[in-house]
């Protein structure tokens, strides 16, 4: 009897370099999760990746400008629509949306319906703002939805899951099924994990969230092994996201 050849080499993860984001931390987290990673912005190199990480720190508009300058917008949309697993982090998650609200309307990658808005702490009372922006620090990520099932395969554990957040804006996905977990801050219950088919977005920084964050990387990387680079397309019933948006705009659904 021959032993099976190891058919699960470490998954190769491409980390998109578009000039923003802490690539070193992401690569370190991938390594800790047992995956190989490489940094790229090149279409050919991305073809060989089992999964793609889209990091991001900074401003929505600048990030989209950088992506356009690096000719990555079409490439990322192609990857997403073809079902390639994508892990989008912080600003990376925000640019998945149709548009951002920073400094006027800006177009995002338009892969998830919804927008991005700022935490508003400007209505100050006599004692100063009631909460601070950026939302900076550890906060609880809800586990009642999809993310809970990912994070806690063994039912019965009720320890809170805390992750590290550092952001001034948050996403508002239009479709509730896209919201995989929520977090409370500044009087808002916002989407902290976004999931649509092969796209997974984290508003927090899993690469800097200690063991819980590394566990997320591990779970995502394990999923890459099984999917073998294929996944469910995120779009509605196979239709192009832009077609859907245009149709909704004509119908008056999108304002």
């Amino acid at each position: 009897m021959t032993l099976p050849v190891n058919e699960n080499p470490r998954p190769r993860i491409a980390v998109i370099d578009y000039g923003v984001g802490n690539l070193a931390s992401v690569r370190q987290a991938c390594a800790a999760a047992g995956a190989e990673s490489f940094v790229t912005r090149c279409r050919e190199e991305l073809d060989g990746a089992a999964g793609v990480v889209l990091p991001g720190v900074g401003a929505f508009g600048s990030a989209m400008d950088c992506l356009r300058a690096a000719d990555l917008v079409g490439l990322l949309r192609d990857l997403a629509l073809a079902g390639r697993p994508i892990l989008a982090i912080c600003l990376g998650m925000q640019i998945l949306m149709e548009r951002g609200a920073e400094g006027g309307d800006q177009e995002g990658l338009d892969l998830i319906r919804g927008d991005v808005v700022r935490f508003d702490n400007t209505s100050a009372g006599g004692d100063g703002p009631s909460f601070k922006v950026p939302h900076m620090g550890w906060n609880e990520v809800s586990t009642s939805g999809w993310y809970g099932r990912l994070a806690r395969p063994e039912p019965g554990s009720d320890a809170r899951i805390m992750m590290y957040f550092a952001h001034s804006f948050y996403t508002r996905p239009r479709d509730r099924e896209d919201v995989a977990s929520t977090t409370d801050y500044g009087g808002v219950r916002f989407c902290s994990v976004l999931k649509r088919g092969n796209i997974l977005g984290c508003q927090f920084h899993p690469e800097r969230s200690g063991p819980a964050g590394l566990a997320l990387f591990r779970a995502w990387a394990r999923g890459l092994d099984r999917q073998g680079g294929k996944g469910v397309s995120p779009v509605l019933n196979g239709q192009d996201a832009r077609t859907t948006r245009n149709r909704d705009r004509e119908a008056g659904v999108i304002c």
């Binding site: 370190q28 100063g128 601070k132 900076m136 805390m162």
Partner: protein
């Protein structure tokens, strides 16, 4: 939202040091050892300050940053001698998540705006060293509290926040290294004026001081050095072959878990679970015996 406890490591060359008022710098050990212990025992973030950088005009921590960030998966803020956008890039590329700037920002406030535009608001921390004045106000200083800037500390904090700085790291020059507690009035004055998080730094000698900075100072986070380092030094010394360290009379050291348990029991929510191990564990094999 839980308050953040951030060990502050002052680094000189390869060493973790601590400035003691009237004594100078004392070497405590290797930064990576302390960093790993703090991560393992529940620290929320780490802060590395290069204390000789202002002398040489550059930050030379990139190796330590790289080693730390590959093993310690919590945010790392680095400061000391960061004068240009390239300096900031180098430190972030090495693995830091945030940078703290002081002198360069005081000399040219536009630097803050540029850094925010380039790296994002949540990446840029403005470090203010504040010294109390006879008239009750506070003035900002640079170079570990040695050089006066003439700036009013509160107004400078407001300007920096307006320019987009994501956090204010507020150190009391008067209290730093004394173990006498934070300047709670200073902390509260700044915390109420700015809409960005304020990290209180400088002076903690007992757990009660940390609680005061949060409850009365309204800080969003607290950076502590001696309070934790002297406990870590004792813990590391329990490894055979290590010399017994000198203490410091005005500090009642605490471990991170004990500090967080105390805070949680006294009205300060922390990222802490009661069933956490006490943190009294063997040093990681890689660091044993060094």
């Amino acid at each position: 939202m839980p308050l953040r406890i951030i060990p502050r490591l002052d680094i000189k060359g390869p060493n973790l040091v601590k400035g003691i008022q009237l004594e100078g710098l004392r070497v405590l050990g290797r930064p990576e050892e302390f960093a790993w212990h703090y991560y393992d025992s529940g620290a929320d973030e780490l802060l590395y300050m290069d204390v000789v950088a202002s002398l040489y005009g550059r930050n030379s921590l990139t190796e330590i940053i790289a080693r730390t960030s590959s093993e310690v998966f919590i945010p790392l803020t680095v400061g000391g001698g960061l004068r240009t956008l390239d300096d900031i890039s180098a430190v972030l590329d090495a693995g830091a998540d945030k940078v703290a700037v002081n002198t360069a920002a005081v000399e040219r406030p536009e630097f803050v705006s540029e850094a925010v535009r380039h790296f994002g608001a949540s990446t840029i921390v403005l470090s203010i060293e504040a010294k109390r004045q006879p008239d009750g106000s506070w003035r900002a200083y640079t170079d570990n509290g040695r050089i006066p800037t003439g700036l009013d500390a509160l107004e400078w904090a407001v300007e920096a926040a307006d320019r987009g700085a994501g956090e204010i790291l507020l150190t009391s020059v008067d209290r730093e290294g004394t173990g006498d507690g934070f300047d709670v009035n200073l902390v509260r004055a700044v915390a109420r004026r700015v809409g960005v998080p304020v990290i209180a730094c400088g002076g903690a000698g007992r757990m009660e001081h940390v609680r005061d900075a949060i409850i009365h100072g309204e800080a969003d986070a607290v950076a502590v050095a001696s309070l934790l380092h002297y406990d870590t030094v004792r813990w590391l010394a329990s490894t055979p072959g290590r010399p017994t360290p000198a203490g410091f009379a005005r500090i009642s050291p605490s471990s991170m878990p004990r500090l967080k348990r105390y805070l949680s029991d006294h009205g300060v929510p922390c990222r802490y679970q009661p069933c956490d191990p006490s943190g009294e564990r063997e040093p990681a094999a890689a660091y044993r015996g060094h």
